[in-house]
């Protein structure tokens, strides 16, 4: 593999608490590479800057220093080429399921009839045939996230960035969607990046796991996941699975202890609020 799809070079990112004025370093010189077609999970203690990293890759945020490259060029704003699947789905409640999936197709300039057909196709890929005309509030959490997935795929992305996409779902739904995403990944050959704090999910789904340090976040280690393919439910009882989980648990525990020791400083979980403030003026 020649040029990586994503490349972070010593990325620093801090947030300022608008009330106290205190500055909080979310990423402290993070470097990483993600190759085309990979399925990578990023795990780390809460507040380690996982979401900040994903938002930088999505283009919602810009690094304070260092460079974040996508296909060799610096990321400059959001793009449907590297679209996002959100934890809270981010569906437009004033649009139907089909309307939501049509949104990126409309942005791509497709004709109304091509958009209808496209929405039908992508909703069918996530088994939502017959739900085209339902509004998000008429759908269950799992179905909403299926719409979110269909909508992301409709962007025709090279990379799909997922920010704890299953965190709000029950276990059964979560597992079904995990398998669904894997099926889509192996069928589409696109790059998937998954932010999660769920170790089983990270191991089950990814081919590589990036462990982040306590804040300020850097890459602590990158671990290849060597498990039988295709991944089915049985993988979860494989000895290698259990061994890897124990290893990741230990690695994470070290970081959590570090962050606890350091938590005399500013409060731990603050970055999200600041991100929201930054986005307000972007319209």
């Amino acid at each position: 593999m020649s040029e990586p799809l994503f490349k972070a070079e010593a990325v620093h990112k801090s947030f300022r608490d608008p009330k106290s004025g205190a500055s909080l370093e979310a990423l402290g010189g993070l470097s990483l590479e993600i190759q085309e077609g990979e399925f990578v999970s990023v795990i780390g203690p809460s507040g380690s800057g996982k979401t900040t990293l994903l938002y930088l890759m999505a283009g919602f945020l810009k690094p304070d220093s260092g460079r974040l490259l996508y296909k060799g060029a610096e990321v400059d704003g959001p793009s449907p080429e590297r679209t996002v699947i959100f934890q809270d789905y981010g569906l437009f409640p004033w649009k139907t399921a089909a309307g939501n999936v049509e949104f990126p197709l409309k942005a791509r300039g497709l004709s109304p009839s091509a958009r209808r057909a496209g929405a039908r196709k992508y909703l069918s890929m996530v088994h939502l045939d017959g739900f085209e005309d339902k509004y998000p509030h008429q759908l269950s959490g799992g179905m909403k996230q299926r719409v979110g997935i269909a909508r992301a795929l409709a962007c025709g992305p090279d990379a799909v960035l997922m920010d704890e996409p299953f965190a709000a779902l029950d276990n059964i739904t979560r597992e079904m969607l995990q398998e669904e995403i894997l099926r889509l990944w192996s069928g589409l050959g696109k790059t998937f990046v998954l932010i999660t704090h769920h170790l089983d999910e990270a191991i089950f789904m990814s081919r590589r796991i990036i462990v982040m340090s306590a804040r300020p976040g850097v890459v602590k280690e990158s671990i290849a996941v060597d498990l039988p393919e295709p991944r089915t439910a049985e993988v979860k009882t494989h000895p290698a699975f259990t061994a890897l989980k124990a290893r990741l648990m230990k690695s994470l525990r070290e970081e959590v202890e570090k962050s606890l020791a350091a938590s005399r400083g500013p409060a731990l979980v603050l970055d999200m609020g600041v991100i929201k403030v930054a986005e307000k003026e972007a319209l």
């Binding site: 999505a58 283009g59 919602f60 704003g77 959001p78 793009s79 449907p80 590297r82 679209t83 996002v84 959100f86 809270d88 981010g90 569906l91 437009f92 409640p93 004033w94 649009k95 949104f103 990126p104 409309k106 942005a107 791509r108 509004y135 509030h137 909508r151 962007c155 991100i275 929201k276 986005e279 307000k280 003026e281 972007a282 319209l283």
Partner: protein, 248 residues
């Protein structure tokens, strides 16, 4: 239904009080006389002519107000530069009651015709619609903005497919409040600056001491306002994408 019971009770007590001689029949005529006035004015057609005149002014002012308030509200909400220039002006003009504009309206548009009254309804309807549009667009959730941008929306789509639909429930609420304001103000304007309309009708009948017609006009104003509000509440429900949104 219960509301109807109270209305009947109030009217009946009013009628009884008149028949018992507790009310001055000139200053507060009984409902039976008001009803007769209603039938007479309706029969002659003046009631409907005046009603139509008032409605026309309200709808004219409201339409111009809407056309000005919604784009300005969107613009002020989405562009910090526009906001900085516009908001202080709006906040300075907003406390001036629409009826305080009547003297100027008479000078500018004259007492004949619809101009002065329509201008007053425009003033009355502009501010609620502007402020509701503004805060509707300002209240867009970040996740919707982020989602739209990561799905490839350009500025036009951000505006037409995200900002405005997201703000639509607010805009319709603003429309409802504006309609109520405009209806109240048109009557006030017609009391002074008009020679037709329901406001003119009650003022003219006052000067002729025809009090049943005055009350008849007032009841009509109330009833029409009620019907318009009910109608737009329905529109509001239709446009509200928020599930189970309750009326304030």
């Amino acid at each position: 239904m219960k509301g109807l019971v109270s209305i009947i009770l109030i009217t009946a007590s009013w009628q009884a009080a008149s028949m018992l001689g507790w009310l001055n029949p000139y200053l507060m005529p009984p409902p039976s006389k008001v009803l007769r006035a209603f039938i007479e004015t309706a029969d002659e057609g003046v009631l409907f002519i005046y009603l139509a005149a008032s409605l026309k002014r309200v709808l004219t002012g409201l339409a111009i107000g809407f056309a000005a308030a919604v784009p300005l509200g969107v613009l002020a909400a989405s562009r910090a530069g526009v906001r900085a220039y516009l908001l202080p002006v709006i906040e300075l003009l907003r406390p001036v009651p629409p009826i305080a504009w009547i003297p100027l309206a008479i000078l500018w548009f004259g007492i004949k015709g619809d101009g002065a009254s329509a201008f007053i309804t425009f003033i009355a309807s502009f501010f609620p619609m502007f402020l509701h549009t503004f805060s509707g667009v300002r209240h867009i959730e970040e996740i919707h903005l982020n989602a739209a941008r990561t799905l490839g929306a350009d500025r036009k789509m951000l505006l037409l497919d995200v900002a405005i639909p997201s703000a639509l429930p607010f805009i319709v609420t603003g429309l409802r409040i504006s309609l109520g304001f405009a209806w109240m103000s048109v009557i006030a304007a017609e009391l002074i600056a008009s020679s037709s309309g329901l406001g003119y009708m009650i003022e003219m009948n006052r000067s002729m001491m025809n009090i049943p017609n005055v009350i008849c006009g007032m009841v009509t104003i109330g009833a029409v306002g009620y019907v318009m509000n009910e109608a737009i509440v329905r529109v509001e429900r239709r446009f509200s994408w928020k599930p189970g949104r309750q009326e304030p």
